[in-house]
């Protein structure tokens, strides 16, 4: 259901951008049916459209890994789909440099299980807070659906290859960060507090979703391989530069940054 929604939105966005390009050059008369002509005009003006789709692989991670994390037991990237559009404006006759922007609707997620030692934990239920230090296993699930707007400088290396680099801003319209602790023990309050064991099926759940930031920003670095006339293969590394949690959230004592590799295809108009 989400995919369809994304496709509709992407097509709408493309169409509006197309309309924008047309209105920009209203010196000549274009008729609705003159589509091939529009495209040629855009190419001449140096605007390149692309609709792209891909997957995100990565996670939200502290940098560097704090000493409390002793071992990563499992990592699952989840299926994180992305669909979007990129518009590139090329400058100059040789069109070596350009600027690109666009929209991306994407999901970023991950699920990990780690062994931790003396790890700050807080469980809030009914407005009552139980906090302490956990030693044992932690299962974490992160899932966010975002609208990302990158603005990057593009450099065309040759006919086939181009690079892009620049910042991006993302708005998370859906944010989840939850999980549970298991197979370990909690020291109530601090390391000298009551020790409570959780074994076998016993687990304590946590949910920090309401503490996630709505706006994220970071840097993007990527490349495209123009494989066929209308098809390119893209890879972009997006590196978040602000903590996924709001500043007032102190329970998780370290910052976590979303670092994802976006790999996919693009259809060039």
């Amino acid at each position: 259901m989400n995919i369809r929604k994304y496709i509709c939105l992407a097509v709408t966005v493309c169409a509006s951008l197309h309309g924008f390009a047309r209105s920009d050059v209203n010196k000549e008369d274009f008729t609705q049916s003159d589509r091939p002509g529009d495209i040629y005009k855009s190419v001449i003006l140096g605007l390149e459209y692309e609709v792209n789709a891909g997957v995100n692989i990565g996670g939200a991670s502290p940098m560097p890994l704090p000493a409390e994390i002793r071992q990563i037991n499992s990592y699952s990237p989840h299926l994180n789909l992305q669909i979007g559009t990129t518009v590139t404006k090329w400058f100059g006759q040789d069109k070596k440099w350009g600027v690109a922007s666009g929209f991306r609707f994407e999901t970023k997620g991950m699920e990990t299980n780690a062994n931790v030692k003396n790890y700050g934990m807080e469980i809030i239920q009914d407005g009552k807070k139980l906090s302490g230090k956990w030693t044992g296993k932690v299962q974490t699930k992160y899932h966010t659906q975002q609208l990302t707007i990158p603005i990057t400088a593009v450099y065309r290396i040759n006919d086939r290859w181009k690079l892009n680099f620049g910042p991006y801003l993302a708005y998370a319209f859906s944010n989840e960060f939850d999980g549970y602790v298991h197979d370990g023990y909690l020291r109530e309050g601090d390391p000298t507090g009551n020790k409570v064991s959780f074994e076998d099926d016993a687990k304590a759940t946590y949910d920090f979703g309401s503490e996630l930031r709505k706006f994220q920003w970071g840097l993007q670095l990527g490349g495209s391989w123009h494989v066929l006339k209308r098809l390119s293969v893209n890879a972009n590394l997006t590196w978040g530069l602000n903590d996924i949690f709001v500043r007032s959230f102190k329970t998780v004592s370290f910052n976590m940054y979303p670092i994802y590799l976006n790999v996919g295809f693009g259809y060039i108009f």
Binding site: S61, P77, K128, A204
Partner: protein, 378 residues
């Protein structure tokens, strides 16, 4: 595409693995074991979060004892392990963690046999501060040995320390077990079955019965193995014959039982019952204490005699009601005078506002008040 995915996943995991930092120094500062030389101990040391109780044999000279402590790896203890000290009064030790950031003061008490009173009025409590800023009552009983003038404090156990995790900053009267003013004589103990809220439901323990017993509550295993968390018994060197006292009981409105999916479901027509009983048993290395799984079991070979409320007595009773129960000796059980003198036998008294509380079934609000207990011995 799939191959790229797998390679990337592998890459991420390798990157993460190589980024793991060196193991941090231990932050915990616990006593995890105690050894007394020359077989002085009559029971396994009872180690709680900030206190240790050593039950020694009658002949041991407690003015010169040198316990040796096993600590969290890397932690240090002051005074040093093996230091000879006079344990006529409880002694304090301070344990500091390996990383130097945390320390904890332990009170170490040495107890000899038959250090308990035979009459209980529940007049004395100590307020315990929970980690979250709440407070709860802990009932004390001071006994003074007429000949040696040794002062021993017996601390009644209850599930309050476990309930404290779910109770935030609330005061003692909100806990399952607390001291109440309108006793039969002076003050009394009031036990109320409580809901543990969403937190308790999360760990499949949606209600907590009010309880009070002679023994220790092991809060560490209370979530993992709740039946074993209530450890009943203390050494006793007399032969008990009768157990008496005053009680009143009001069951809660709706009896609920914990079903197979660990959810509470109401049971039509069933009314909650309280329970008050005392068990005299032999302590053996395999079974030093009794616990929720075996304290009344018919096939428990260590149980010598039991005194308990009858079916009718466990029902609601509005006014203070007197009970006088004989210790019923089990078939074939006799008392060995040597074992008796050496503190091999133990006794426990257990009271609860919901008879099935250890199976997390009962009626929230069931209230049991108890006062003026007495053990009559030979």
């Amino acid at each position: 595409m799939k191959l790229i995915n797998w390679l990337l996943v592998l890459g991420m995991m390798l990157a993460m693995a190589s980024c793991i930092k060196k193991e941090p120094l231990n932050a915990e500062c616990d006593i995890v074991g105690v050894v007394l030389p020359d077989d002085a101990l009559n029971r396994t040391p009872i180690i709680e979060n900030d206190r240790v109780t050593l039950i020694v044999k009658n002949y041991v000279n407690i003015t010169e004892l040198a316990p040796e402590f096993e600590l969290t790896p890397g932690a240090t203890i002051q005074p040093a392990s093996g230091t000879e000290r006079d344990f006529t009064e409880p002694q304090t030790y301070v344990v500091t963690s390996e990383d130097g950031e945390w320390s904890k003061a332990y009170t170490v008490t040495v107890q000899r046999n038959n250090a308990i009173n035979l009459k209980y009025g529940f007049e004395d409590v100590r307020i315990v501060n929970s980690m979250q800023g709440g407070k709860y009552d802990e009932f004390l009983d001071v006994s003074i040995n007429e000949s040696t003038h040794q002062r021993d404090t017996m601390i009644w156990a209850s599930g309050n320390a476990g309930f404290a995790m779910t109770n935030g900053t609330k005061p003692p009267e909100t806990y399952p077990t607390f001291q109440a003013n309108d006793g039969y004589v002076g003050k009394c103990v009031e036990m109320v079955t409580r809901s543990t809220g969403a937190w308790g439901a999360m760990v499949n323990k949606p209600i907590a019965a009010g309880n009070l017993f002679i023994g220790k509550f092991n809060v560490t295993i209370a979530v993992a193995t709740p039946l074993k968390a209530t450890q009943f018994g203390t050494p006793f060197s007399s032969v008990p014959r009768y157990f008496s006292g005053y009680y009143k009981y009001k069951p809660g409105e709706v009896y609920q039982r914990l079903n197979e999916s660990n959810k509470l479901e109401p049971v039509e027509g069933k009314v909650d019952e309280c329970n008050i009983y005392a068990v005299f048993y032999e302590s053996t290395p395999e079974m030093e204490w009794l616990d929720g799984s075996n304290v009344l079991s018919d096939d428990n070979p260590n149980i010598i005699a039991v005194a308990r409320l009858s079916d009718e007595q466990r029902q609601a009773t509005e006014e203070w009601t007197y009970f006088h129960l004989p210790f019923v000796f089990r078939d074939g059980k006799t008392i060995d005078p040597d074992k008796l003198e050496n503190g091999i036998y133990s006794i426990t008294i257990v009271m609860t506002s919901s008879i099935d509380g250890d199976y997390f079934s009962g009626a929230v609000g069931s209230t049991l008040c108890v006062d003026e207990l007495e053990l009559k011995c030979d």
